[in-house]
Amino acid sequence: MNPTRRAWNKAVGMAAAGAAAGTIESCSSPPVRTQAWAPVSIYRAATYSEELYDLVRRIIAEHALDVRGKRVVLKPNLVEFDAHTVINTNPKLVHAALEAFRAAGAADVRIAEGPGHRRVTLDLADAGGYFATVPNFESLFTDLNLDDTTKVNLVRPVSKLQSLYLPNTILGCDLLVSMPKLKTHHWAGATLSMKNLFGVVPGGVYGWPKNVLHWAGIHQCIADLHALFPKTFAIVDGIVAMEGNGPIQGTPRTAGVVIAGASPVAVDATCCRIMGLDPARIGYLQLTAGVQNLGEELIPQRGERIESVAGNFAVLPELAGLRLSRS
């Protein structure tokens, strides 16, 4: 989701560097938490194999997700397609989630996304393997850029936005499942389950890219979207992730993990640690949770330990300040 122009890039790059230095400004800092976040599970998954179907069923069971009779929307991350890299959430994991939520008794499970650059989402999904992997994909899919919309006023927004038009498919669901790819991001530092919510903002109203969000503040808009959908469940595709100049031009990196949990903040903070990034230096996590609430001790961990799957993902030089200091 790139704003245009070299100069604009430079300005945004400076803002990102500011975030790296821990200087995201907020009117008020969230209070110190006295309770732990919802648990985060880390599962090993070497490949996009049939084993993912059992894995997502385990995730639903372990997190006691009761979706019986409910409308579930799976929101993968589709950006662009390049056969040489891994930009998008793998369709196998999304299909595994579709089958698992159906098996758990959901009344309706849809896949929905609104990419920020490409206008013809179904072409993008086709190129990304969704038609080949998900039977009847077209009938299960909603293009969030072109869905009917409702205006929603933001309560105490962090960004400059006062309201947003949002897709009715998202507003009407009982459970939104954010399914991003584990990636570094050249402006936000990391793009995970919270940043993935940019895709619910309709291009049909705001355009391609959704540049209004950049002008209103990338980190701030992520925080506002999270506030609109705080009960989002997150399942992160970290099997083959992306490092370097993400979210589009980065390099594939096999991390071999799926990360999941009912708190997007806790899941994203854990993902950052797995990538070797300090969550307390990511602007939108600062704004949403407060630096003081992002410690590992506040996030109950299940499955694999972070240390056993973590690595040092490459980042652009401008974002070197986001690196986790491992002592």
Binding site: N2, R5, T150, G207
Partner: protein
């Protein structure tokens, strides 16, 4: 003709068209009306119903909202100005004035002052020097809305300028053309408008390359020739129906009658039906984006 019948079957009860299903939107309604108008006089009743719906989306500032419930005028206003003047149904002069006035936020003095304070000289940057059009007021200019606004204003100029001042009109068209030339990707085509991100080149897309080429018809510049070459490569490779249609429209505007090598992947959307009809019509000699 086949596409026209499909489009008629997709018209909503309120007279407008949705993208796929659901409520009516200005964009697919404009393209459906353009396609029906290009198919001849047989569907005047449906066109009148469409125009009646469209009129409801015109806002007090003269611009059009992307759908009736959105309380903001946006880039879709340019699409209404592409409709033939003989299917009038809205206040065209106020829509013209609204479109002429729009620029990307980066054209404003506040942003340029901020860049200057950051040490960036926007006056010497070819990517910052020209005023394009934004998708949404208050945001930066991008290739899509700029190309469509250029096409709309070119049509207006050919008709004598309407209510717009002739010098203003020419200046905006020239700025838009310069904007598009400055936003060409290194591979020769166009994407959404970000040619480089943090020092890395971005690739072009078929649909935006076709649209930009259409807006650059009649422009004699080596960059356009390179864009045409890139467009022909994309047409040979793309299976996207909308991508193919935009490329056929854009290449046709430069005298190329290349046809795609792959069968288009049709998804049944109103946009792809209307654009395919418009590409066929252009190939038969009637380009609705260029003809007055």
């Amino acid at each position: 003709m086949l596409y026209s019948e499909d489009l008629l079957g997709r018209q909503n009860a309120d007279g407008g068209w949705s993208y796929f299903r659901g409520g009516s939107w200005t964009e697919p309604t404009c393209y459906a009306l353009l396609a029906l108008a290009a198919s001849g006089p047989a569907h005047q009743a449906e066109v009148r119903r469409g125009m009646s719906w469209l009129r409801r989306c015109q806002r007090p500032d003269g611009g059009f909202a992307p759908r009736e419930s959105v309380q903001e005028s946006t880039w879709v206003t340019a699409l209404t100005l592409l409709l033939p003047p003989d299917i009038e149904g809205f206040d065209r002069s106020r829509a013209e004035a609204w479109t002429v006035d729009q620029t990307g936020r980066e054209s404003g003095w506040v942003f340029r002052l901020r860049l200057w304070m950051l040490g960036v000289d926007s006056s010497t940057s070819d990517s910052m020097s020209f005023d394009g059009w934004p998708w949404y007021p208050g945001a930066a200019a991008w290739v899509g809305p700029t190309a469509l606004s250029v096409l709309a204003l070119q049509k207006l100029a050919k008709r004598g300028g309407g209510s717009a001042n002739g010098a203003d009109l020419k200046k905006r068209i020239d700025q838009g053309v310069s904007y598009l030339l400055a936003r060409r990707c290194r591979d020769g085509g166009w994407n959404h408008g970000s040619t480089r991100a943090l020092g890395y080149d971005s690739d072009s897309y078929p649909e935006t390359t076709g649209l930009a080429l259409l807006a650059l018809h009649g422009v004699d510049d080596p960059k356009v020739a390179q864009g045409v070459a890139r467009g022909e490569q994309q047409l040979a490779l793309s299976a996207s129906s909308e991508g193919q249609s935009w490329l056929r429209l854009g290449l046709g505007a430069h005298g190329r009658t290349s046809l795609p090598s792959k069968a288009p992947a049709m998804h049944g959307g109103v946009m792809e039906l209307a654009l395919a009809a418009l590409a066929d019509s252009a190939q038969a000699g009637k380009n609705s984006f260029l003809n007055v």
